[in-house]
Protein backbone atom coordinates (compact mmCIF):
# COMPACT_ATOMS: atom_id res chain seq x y z
CA UNK A 1 0.00 0.00 0.00
CA UNK A 2 1.53 3.19 -0.80
CA UNK A 3 1.36 6.17 -2.64
CA UNK A 4 -0.78 9.08 -3.19
CA UNK A 5 -3.81 10.19 -1.29
CA UNK A 6 -7.10 11.01 -2.78
CA UNK A 7 -7.26 14.70 -3.53
CA UNK A 8 -3.63 14.98 -2.90
CA UNK A 9 -2.63 13.59 -6.21
CA UNK A 10 -0.53 16.45 -6.99
CA UNK A 11 2.90 16.98 -5.62
CA UNK A 12 3.11 20.48 -7.00
CA UNK A 13 0.33 21.61 -4.74
CA UNK A 14 -2.23 22.78 -7.24
CA UNK A 15 -5.06 21.09 -5.42
CA UNK A 16 -5.27 21.62 -1.75
CA UNK A 17 -8.96 21.63 -1.08
CA UNK A 18 -12.08 19.92 -2.03
CA UNK A 19 -14.07 22.98 -2.98
CA UNK A 20 -17.24 21.04 -3.31
CA UNK A 21 -17.71 20.06 0.30
CA UNK A 22 -19.74 17.22 -0.94
CA UNK A 23 -19.07 14.99 1.97
CA UNK A 24 -17.61 12.12 0.06
CA UNK A 25 -16.06 9.76 2.47
CA UNK A 26 -12.55 10.09 1.26
CA UNK A 27 -11.09 8.09 4.05
CA UNK A 28 -13.01 5.04 3.00
CA UNK A 29 -12.20 5.88 -0.51
CA UNK A 30 -8.55 6.09 0.22
CA UNK A 31 -8.56 2.63 1.59
CA UNK A 32 -9.44 1.43 -1.83
CA UNK A 33 -6.94 3.64 -3.42
CA UNK A 34 -3.58 2.16 -2.78
CA UNK A 35 -2.10 2.35 -6.10
CA UNK A 36 0.39 0.26 -7.87
CA UNK A 37 -0.48 1.05 -11.38
CA UNK A 38 0.07 3.15 -14.39
CA UNK A 39 -3.22 4.63 -15.22
CA UNK A 40 -6.54 5.71 -13.97
CA UNK A 41 -9.58 3.62 -13.53
CA UNK A 42 -12.74 5.63 -13.74
CA UNK A 43 -15.77 4.18 -12.06
CA UNK A 44 -19.07 5.78 -12.83
CA UNK A 45 -21.41 5.09 -9.99
CA UNK A 46 -24.52 6.70 -11.30
CA UNK A 47 -23.32 10.25 -11.29
CA UNK A 48 -20.06 11.25 -9.78
CA UNK A 49 -16.83 10.23 -11.33
CA UNK A 50 -14.27 8.88 -8.95
CA UNK A 51 -10.76 7.99 -9.83
CA UNK A 52 -8.88 5.02 -8.53
CA UNK A 53 -5.30 4.20 -9.08
CA UNK A 54 -5.00 1.09 -11.10
CA UNK A 55 -4.39 -1.94 -9.01
CA UNK A 56 -5.87 -0.23 -5.98
CA UNK A 57 -8.82 -2.49 -5.60
CA UNK A 58 -6.88 -5.65 -5.77
CA UNK A 59 -7.38 -7.56 -2.58
CA UNK A 60 -8.78 -4.53 -0.85
CA UNK A 61 -12.28 -5.81 -0.51
CA UNK A 62 -13.84 -3.32 -2.88
CA UNK A 63 -17.30 -4.31 -3.89
CA UNK A 64 -18.19 -5.13 -7.40
CA UNK A 65 -19.79 -2.43 -9.43
CA UNK A 66 -23.42 -1.92 -8.66
CA UNK A 67 -25.96 -1.87 -11.40
CA UNK A 68 -25.63 1.31 -13.38
CA UNK A 69 -22.03 1.75 -12.41
CA UNK A 70 -19.11 1.29 -14.62
CA UNK A 71 -15.48 2.16 -14.86
CA UNK A 72 -13.03 3.22 -17.48
CA UNK A 73 -9.31 3.86 -17.60
CA UNK A 74 -7.51 6.87 -19.01
CA UNK A 75 -4.09 6.42 -20.55
CA UNK A 76 -2.13 9.08 -22.37
CA UNK A 77 0.98 10.10 -24.24
CA UNK A 78 2.37 6.72 -25.23
CA UNK A 79 4.70 8.43 -27.77
CA UNK A 80 5.37 5.22 -29.66
CA UNK A 81 8.60 5.69 -31.61
CA UNK A 82 10.31 7.80 -28.96
CA UNK A 83 13.71 6.27 -28.21
CA UNK A 84 15.73 8.96 -26.44
CA UNK A 85 17.42 8.68 -23.03
CA UNK A 86 14.27 9.75 -21.15
CA UNK A 87 12.85 6.32 -22.09
CA UNK A 88 14.59 4.10 -24.63
CA UNK A 89 11.79 1.50 -24.40
CA UNK A 90 8.32 3.01 -24.64
CA UNK A 91 6.98 -0.36 -25.78
CA UNK A 92 7.86 -1.94 -22.44
CA UNK A 93 6.23 0.81 -20.41
CA UNK A 94 3.06 0.75 -22.50
CA UNK A 95 2.94 -3.01 -21.99
CA UNK A 96 3.33 -2.46 -18.26
CA UNK A 97 0.31 -0.16 -18.37
CA UNK A 98 -1.65 -2.85 -20.18
CA UNK A 99 -0.66 -5.39 -17.53
CA UNK A 100 -1.99 -3.03 -14.85
CA UNK A 101 -5.28 -2.68 -16.65
CA UNK A 102 -5.64 -6.40 -17.19
CA UNK A 103 -4.93 -7.09 -13.53
CA UNK A 104 -7.88 -4.97 -12.36
CA UNK A 105 -10.44 -7.11 -10.60
CA UNK A 106 -13.19 -4.81 -11.82
CA UNK A 107 -12.56 -4.58 -15.50
CA UNK A 108 -13.12 -1.18 -17.08
CA UNK A 109 -15.63 -1.11 -19.89
CA UNK A 110 -13.38 0.87 -22.17
CA UNK A 111 -10.23 2.95 -22.34
CA UNK A 112 -9.74 6.59 -23.18
CA UNK A 113 -6.46 7.55 -24.79
CA UNK A 114 -5.90 11.29 -24.56
CA UNK A 115 -3.43 11.63 -27.41
CA UNK A 116 0.18 11.50 -28.50
CA UNK A 117 -0.36 7.88 -29.34
CA UNK A 118 2.64 8.13 -31.66
CA UNK A 119 5.77 10.23 -31.51
CA UNK A 120 6.04 11.08 -35.23
CA UNK A 121 2.63 10.18 -36.72
CA UNK A 122 4.12 7.15 -38.48
CA UNK A 123 1.82 4.26 -39.45
CA UNK A 124 4.11 1.72 -37.81
CA UNK A 125 3.97 3.66 -34.55
CA UNK A 126 0.17 3.60 -34.56
CA UNK A 127 0.33 -0.11 -35.51
CA UNK A 128 2.54 -0.85 -32.51
CA UNK A 129 0.22 0.90 -30.08
CA UNK A 130 -2.82 -0.83 -31.53
CA UNK A 131 -1.10 -4.19 -31.22
CA UNK A 132 -0.09 -3.60 -27.59
CA UNK A 133 -3.45 -2.21 -26.50
CA UNK A 134 -5.26 -5.08 -28.19
CA UNK A 135 -4.14 -7.16 -25.22
CA UNK A 136 -6.63 -5.26 -23.04
CA UNK A 137 -9.46 -6.62 -25.16
CA UNK A 138 -11.26 -3.32 -24.62
CA UNK A 139 -12.83 -0.69 -26.77
CA UNK A 140 -10.52 2.31 -26.91
CA UNK A 141 -11.55 5.86 -27.68
CA UNK A 142 -8.92 8.29 -28.85
CA UNK A 143 -8.39 11.99 -29.27
CA UNK A 144 -5.28 13.19 -31.11
CA UNK A 145 -2.24 14.85 -29.66
CA UNK A 146 -0.08 17.15 -31.74
CA UNK A 147 2.31 14.25 -32.38
CA UNK A 148 -0.49 12.32 -34.09
CA UNK A 149 -1.32 14.94 -36.70
CA UNK A 150 2.15 16.05 -37.77
CA UNK A 151 2.19 16.00 -41.56
CA UNK A 152 -1.33 15.43 -42.80
CA UNK A 153 -3.66 17.65 -40.74
CA UNK A 154 -4.80 14.56 -38.89
CA UNK A 155 -6.12 12.59 -41.89
CA UNK A 156 -4.41 9.35 -40.84
CA UNK A 157 -5.51 9.74 -37.24
CA UNK A 158 -9.15 10.16 -38.26
CA UNK A 159 -8.99 7.27 -40.70
CA UNK A 160 -7.67 4.99 -37.97
CA UNK A 161 -9.32 6.23 -34.79
CA UNK A 162 -12.16 8.63 -35.45
CA UNK A 163 -13.93 7.61 -38.62
CA UNK A 164 -17.34 8.76 -37.52
CA UNK A 165 -16.16 11.95 -35.90
CA UNK A 166 -17.07 15.49 -36.84
CA UNK A 167 -14.78 18.15 -38.25
CA UNK A 168 -11.18 17.45 -37.37
CA UNK A 169 -11.99 14.48 -35.18
CA UNK A 170 -14.34 15.49 -32.36
CA UNK A 171 -17.28 13.37 -31.20
CA UNK A 172 -19.47 12.49 -28.28
CA UNK A 173 -21.13 9.36 -26.95
CA UNK A 174 -23.20 8.20 -24.01
CA UNK A 175 -22.41 5.40 -21.61
CA UNK A 176 -24.59 4.46 -18.69
CA UNK A 177 -26.11 7.91 -18.49
CA UNK A 178 -22.78 9.71 -18.70
CA UNK A 179 -22.16 11.98 -21.67
CA UNK A 180 -18.59 11.79 -23.00
CA UNK A 181 -17.17 14.45 -25.30
CA UNK A 182 -13.85 13.99 -27.13
CA UNK A 183 -12.37 17.29 -28.32
CA UNK A 184 -9.47 18.20 -30.61
CA UNK A 185 -7.29 21.13 -29.55
CA UNK A 186 -4.02 20.36 -31.35
CA UNK A 187 -4.74 21.65 -34.86
CA UNK A 188 -4.54 25.06 -36.54
CA UNK A 189 -2.46 26.44 -33.70
CA UNK A 190 -1.62 30.13 -34.01
CA UNK A 191 1.84 31.63 -33.57
CA UNK A 192 2.38 32.61 -29.96
CA UNK A 193 -0.80 30.90 -28.83
CA UNK A 194 -1.90 27.82 -26.90
CA UNK A 195 -4.10 24.89 -27.85
CA UNK A 196 -7.12 25.79 -29.96
CA UNK A 197 -10.61 24.34 -30.31
CA UNK A 198 -11.78 26.76 -32.99
CA UNK A 199 -15.21 28.24 -33.75
CA UNK A 200 -16.54 25.25 -35.68
CA UNK A 201 -15.87 22.83 -32.84
CA UNK A 202 -17.19 25.26 -30.22
CA UNK A 203 -20.42 25.63 -32.14
CA UNK A 204 -20.74 21.87 -32.39
CA UNK A 205 -20.11 21.49 -28.64
CA UNK A 206 -22.76 24.05 -27.78
CA UNK A 207 -25.29 22.15 -29.83
CA UNK A 208 -24.12 18.77 -28.57
CA UNK A 209 -24.82 19.51 -24.91
CA UNK A 210 -27.72 21.93 -25.29
CA UNK A 211 -30.50 19.41 -24.88
CA UNK A 212 -28.94 17.35 -22.12
CA UNK A 213 -30.42 17.42 -18.62
CA UNK A 214 -28.45 19.43 -16.09
CA UNK A 215 -28.08 16.32 -14.01
CA UNK A 216 -26.24 14.47 -16.78
CA UNK A 217 -22.65 13.81 -15.73
CA UNK A 218 -20.28 15.14 -18.37
CA UNK A 219 -16.80 13.86 -19.12
CA UNK A 220 -14.74 15.93 -21.55
CA UNK A 221 -11.45 14.57 -22.80
CA UNK A 222 -8.86 16.28 -24.97
CA UNK A 223 -5.10 16.25 -25.32
CA UNK A 224 -3.90 19.70 -24.23
CA UNK A 225 -5.24 20.85 -20.86
CA UNK A 226 -8.47 22.82 -21.08
CA UNK A 227 -7.34 24.90 -18.14
CA UNK A 228 -4.33 27.13 -18.07
CA UNK A 229 -1.64 25.09 -16.39
CA UNK A 230 1.40 27.05 -17.57
CA UNK A 231 0.98 29.28 -20.61
CA UNK A 232 4.71 29.97 -20.89
CA UNK A 233 5.07 26.37 -22.05
CA UNK A 234 1.87 26.33 -24.05
CA UNK A 235 0.07 24.26 -21.42
CA UNK A 236 -3.44 25.54 -21.90
CA UNK A 237 -6.11 26.13 -24.54
CA UNK A 238 -6.86 29.62 -25.85
CA UNK A 239 -10.61 29.22 -26.24
CA UNK A 240 -11.32 26.70 -23.48
CA UNK A 241 -13.30 29.27 -21.45
CA UNK A 242 -15.84 29.40 -24.25
CA UNK A 243 -16.16 25.63 -24.24
CA UNK A 244 -16.56 25.52 -20.47
CA UNK A 245 -19.25 28.19 -20.59
CA UNK A 246 -21.46 25.66 -22.39
CA UNK A 247 -20.94 23.22 -19.52
CA UNK A 248 -21.77 25.56 -16.66
CA UNK A 249 -25.30 24.30 -16.27
CA UNK A 250 -24.20 20.77 -15.50
CA UNK A 251 -23.82 19.57 -11.97
CA UNK A 252 -20.82 17.38 -12.62
CA UNK A 253 -18.19 18.02 -15.26
CA UNK A 254 -14.92 16.13 -15.43
CA UNK A 255 -12.19 17.24 -17.82
CA UNK A 256 -9.47 14.70 -18.59
CA UNK A 257 -6.32 15.80 -20.40
CA UNK A 258 -2.79 14.62 -21.13
CA UNK A 259 0.06 16.46 -22.86
CA UNK A 260 2.01 17.59 -19.80
CA UNK A 261 3.17 14.09 -18.76
CA UNK A 262 2.40 14.56 -15.11
CA UNK A 263 -0.66 14.48 -12.93
CA UNK A 264 -2.35 17.64 -11.86
CA UNK A 265 -5.79 18.43 -10.64
CA UNK A 266 -7.86 21.52 -10.15
CA UNK A 267 -11.43 21.90 -9.00
CA UNK A 268 -13.37 24.94 -10.10
CA UNK A 269 -17.00 24.95 -9.05
CA UNK A 270 -18.67 21.97 -10.68
CA UNK A 271 -15.71 21.24 -12.93
CA UNK A 272 -12.82 18.97 -12.03
CA UNK A 273 -9.79 19.24 -14.28
CA UNK A 274 -7.27 16.48 -14.33
CA UNK A 275 -4.15 15.63 -16.31
CA UNK A 276 -2.76 12.12 -16.62
CA UNK A 277 0.64 10.55 -16.50
CA UNK A 278 2.32 9.59 -19.73
CA UNK A 279 3.20 5.96 -20.33
CA UNK A 280 6.41 7.06 -22.10
CA UNK A 281 8.43 9.76 -20.34
CA UNK A 282 7.97 12.46 -17.70
CA UNK A 283 8.15 16.22 -18.22
CA UNK A 284 9.23 18.78 -15.64
CA UNK A 285 6.83 20.54 -13.30
CA UNK A 286 5.80 23.96 -14.63
CA UNK A 287 8.78 26.28 -14.59
CA UNK A 288 11.02 23.69 -12.94
CA UNK A 289 13.27 23.51 -15.99
CA UNK A 290 14.24 25.81 -18.81
CA UNK A 291 11.85 24.06 -21.15
CA UNK A 292 9.12 21.43 -21.15
CA UNK A 293 11.06 18.69 -22.94
CA UNK A 294 11.39 15.03 -21.91
CA UNK A 295 12.90 14.71 -18.46
CA UNK A 296 15.54 12.10 -17.80
CA UNK A 297 15.28 10.42 -14.43
CA UNK A 298 17.41 7.54 -13.15
CA UNK A 299 16.32 4.34 -14.89
CA UNK A 300 15.12 2.75 -11.66
CA UNK A 301 12.82 5.72 -11.05
CA UNK A 302 11.28 5.89 -14.50
CA UNK A 303 8.21 3.81 -13.76
CA UNK A 304 7.43 5.88 -10.71
CA UNK A 305 6.80 8.88 -12.95
CA UNK A 306 4.73 7.08 -15.58
CA UNK A 307 1.24 5.81 -15.06
CA UNK A 308 -2.45 5.70 -15.75
CA UNK A 309 -5.45 7.46 -14.20
CA UNK A 310 -8.40 6.23 -12.32
CA UNK A 311 -11.77 7.94 -11.98
CA UNK A 312 -15.05 7.07 -10.32
CA UNK A 313 -18.50 8.59 -10.28
CA UNK A 314 -21.06 8.25 -7.52
CA UNK A 315 -24.63 9.24 -8.12
CA UNK A 316 -25.73 12.62 -6.81
CA UNK A 317 -22.23 13.55 -5.78
CA UNK A 318 -20.59 16.45 -7.46
CA UNK A 319 -16.94 15.97 -6.88
CA UNK A 320 -14.57 13.96 -8.90
CA UNK A 321 -12.25 11.81 -6.92
CA UNK A 322 -9.09 11.10 -8.82
CA UNK A 323 -6.07 9.09 -7.96
CA UNK A 324 -3.15 8.75 -10.25
CA UNK A 325 -0.96 5.76 -10.09
CA UNK A 326 2.51 5.15 -11.27
CA UNK A 327 3.75 2.09 -13.09
CA UNK A 328 6.07 1.11 -10.33
Amino acid sequence: MSKKKLFDPNPSGFIEHDHNNDGIDRRGFLKCMAWAGTGALCVIQGGVLKSYALGSQMGSGMKSHKRGEFSFVQISDSHMGFNKPANPDVIATLKAAVDKINALPEQPEFLLHTGDISHLSKPEEFDNVDQILKATNKEILFVPGEHDVLNDEGAMFRERYAKNSKGQGWYSFDKNGVHFVGLVNVMNLKAGGLGTLGPEQLEWLEGDVKHLKHSTPIVVFAHIPLWTVYPQWGWGTDDSAQALSYLKKFGSVTVLNGHIHQTMQKVEGNVTFHTAFSTAFPQPAPGAAEGPGPMKVPAEQLRSVLGITDVNYVQRRHALALVDSSLG
Partner: protein
Protein backbone atom coordinates in the same frame (compact mmCIF):
# COMPACT_ATOMS: atom_id res chain seq x y z
CA UNK B 1 54.31 76.56 -54.68
CA UNK B 2 53.56 75.54 -58.19
CA UNK B 3 54.68 72.07 -57.46
CA UNK B 4 52.43 71.77 -54.48
CA UNK B 5 49.47 73.04 -56.50
CA UNK B 6 50.16 70.45 -59.10
CA UNK B 7 50.28 67.81 -56.45
CA UNK B 8 46.91 68.82 -55.08
CA UNK B 9 45.50 69.09 -58.57
CA UNK B 10 46.56 65.59 -59.44
CA UNK B 11 45.28 64.37 -56.09
CA UNK B 12 41.94 66.04 -56.77
CA UNK B 13 41.88 64.44 -60.18
CA UNK B 14 42.68 61.03 -58.83
CA UNK B 15 40.29 61.18 -55.91
CA UNK B 16 37.08 60.50 -57.80
CA UNK B 17 38.63 57.41 -59.32
CA UNK B 18 39.79 56.22 -55.98
CA UNK B 19 36.37 56.90 -54.47
CA UNK B 20 34.64 55.24 -57.35
CA UNK B 21 36.90 52.26 -56.96
CA UNK B 22 36.03 52.04 -53.27
CA UNK B 23 32.34 52.44 -54.01
CA UNK B 24 32.42 49.82 -56.69
CA UNK B 25 34.60 47.41 -54.82
CA UNK B 26 33.32 47.82 -51.34
CA UNK B 27 29.72 46.73 -51.58
CA UNK B 28 30.63 43.63 -53.53
CA UNK B 29 33.34 42.76 -51.14
CA UNK B 30 31.16 43.52 -48.11
CA UNK B 31 28.28 41.46 -49.44
CA UNK B 32 30.31 38.39 -50.18
CA UNK B 33 32.00 38.66 -46.80
CA UNK B 34 28.67 39.02 -45.02
CA UNK B 35 27.26 36.02 -46.79
CA UNK B 36 30.22 34.01 -45.70
CA UNK B 37 30.52 35.19 -42.15
CA UNK B 38 26.94 36.01 -41.13
CA UNK B 39 25.29 33.04 -39.47
CA UNK B 40 22.45 31.48 -41.41
CA UNK B 41 21.83 28.69 -38.94
CA UNK B 42 19.01 28.54 -36.42
CA UNK B 43 19.35 26.02 -33.64
CA UNK B 44 16.09 24.63 -32.32
CA UNK B 45 16.88 23.68 -28.78
CA UNK B 46 14.97 23.43 -25.54
CA UNK B 47 11.80 24.70 -27.21
CA UNK B 48 13.43 27.91 -28.42
CA UNK B 49 14.91 29.23 -31.65
CA UNK B 50 18.50 30.42 -31.34
CA UNK B 51 18.87 33.16 -32.31
CA UNK B 52 15.21 34.10 -32.13
CA UNK B 53 15.84 36.94 -34.57
CA UNK B 54 18.30 36.32 -37.40
CA UNK B 55 19.27 39.01 -39.92
CA UNK B 56 20.55 37.82 -43.30
CA UNK B 57 21.18 39.31 -46.76
CA UNK B 58 18.79 38.63 -49.61
CA UNK B 59 19.24 35.20 -51.21
CA UNK B 60 20.54 33.65 -48.01
CA UNK B 61 19.60 30.09 -47.25
CA UNK B 62 18.68 29.66 -43.60
CA UNK B 63 18.92 26.23 -42.07
CA UNK B 64 17.11 25.13 -38.92
CA UNK B 65 18.42 22.12 -37.01
CA UNK B 66 16.32 20.41 -34.37
CA UNK B 67 18.43 19.60 -31.32
CA UNK B 68 15.46 18.62 -29.14
CA UNK B 69 14.29 15.13 -28.24
CA UNK B 70 10.86 15.97 -29.62
CA UNK B 71 9.84 16.97 -33.15
CA UNK B 72 9.23 20.54 -34.23
CA UNK B 73 7.68 22.07 -37.33
CA UNK B 74 9.03 25.33 -38.77
CA UNK B 75 6.20 27.39 -40.24
CA UNK B 76 6.02 31.03 -41.30
CA UNK B 77 3.09 32.89 -39.82
CA UNK B 78 1.67 33.78 -43.22
CA UNK B 79 2.26 30.45 -44.94
CA UNK B 80 5.35 31.41 -46.97
CA UNK B 81 7.26 28.34 -45.82
CA UNK B 82 6.60 25.25 -43.74
CA UNK B 83 8.76 22.25 -42.96
CA UNK B 84 7.71 18.69 -42.40
CA UNK B 85 8.02 17.50 -38.82
CA UNK B 86 11.71 17.59 -37.90
CA UNK B 87 12.85 14.78 -35.68
CA UNK B 88 16.00 15.10 -33.58
CA UNK B 89 18.93 16.36 -35.72
CA UNK B 90 16.73 16.80 -38.79
CA UNK B 91 17.33 19.99 -40.77
CA UNK B 92 15.13 22.28 -42.81
CA UNK B 93 16.39 24.98 -45.19
CA UNK B 94 14.66 27.85 -46.93
CA UNK B 95 16.17 30.46 -49.27
CA UNK B 96 14.94 34.02 -48.79
CA UNK B 97 14.97 35.74 -52.18
CA UNK B 98 13.02 38.83 -51.12
CA UNK B 99 13.79 41.40 -48.47
CA UNK B 100 11.41 41.59 -45.56
CA UNK B 101 10.71 40.33 -42.06
CA UNK B 102 9.50 36.76 -41.88
CA UNK B 103 7.89 35.78 -38.60
CA UNK B 104 7.68 32.07 -37.98
CA UNK B 105 6.79 29.60 -35.22
CA UNK B 106 6.64 25.92 -34.41
CA UNK B 107 3.21 24.89 -35.61
CA UNK B 108 2.91 22.19 -32.92
CA UNK B 109 4.44 24.25 -30.09
CA UNK B 110 3.15 27.68 -31.03
CA UNK B 111 4.76 29.40 -28.06
CA UNK B 112 8.03 28.95 -29.96
CA UNK B 113 8.39 32.00 -32.19
CA UNK B 114 11.21 33.54 -34.23
CA UNK B 115 11.98 36.02 -36.99
CA UNK B 116 14.18 36.10 -40.06
CA UNK B 117 14.99 39.65 -41.18
CA UNK B 118 16.10 39.66 -44.82
CA UNK B 119 17.78 42.82 -46.08
Amino acid sequence: MMRRKLFFRSLAAALPFALAAVLIMHPTRARSEDAKSAPTEVRVDNFTFGPDTLTVPVNSTVTWTNKDDVPHVIASNDGVFKSKALDTDDKYSYTFSKAGTYSYYCSIHPKMVGKIVVQ
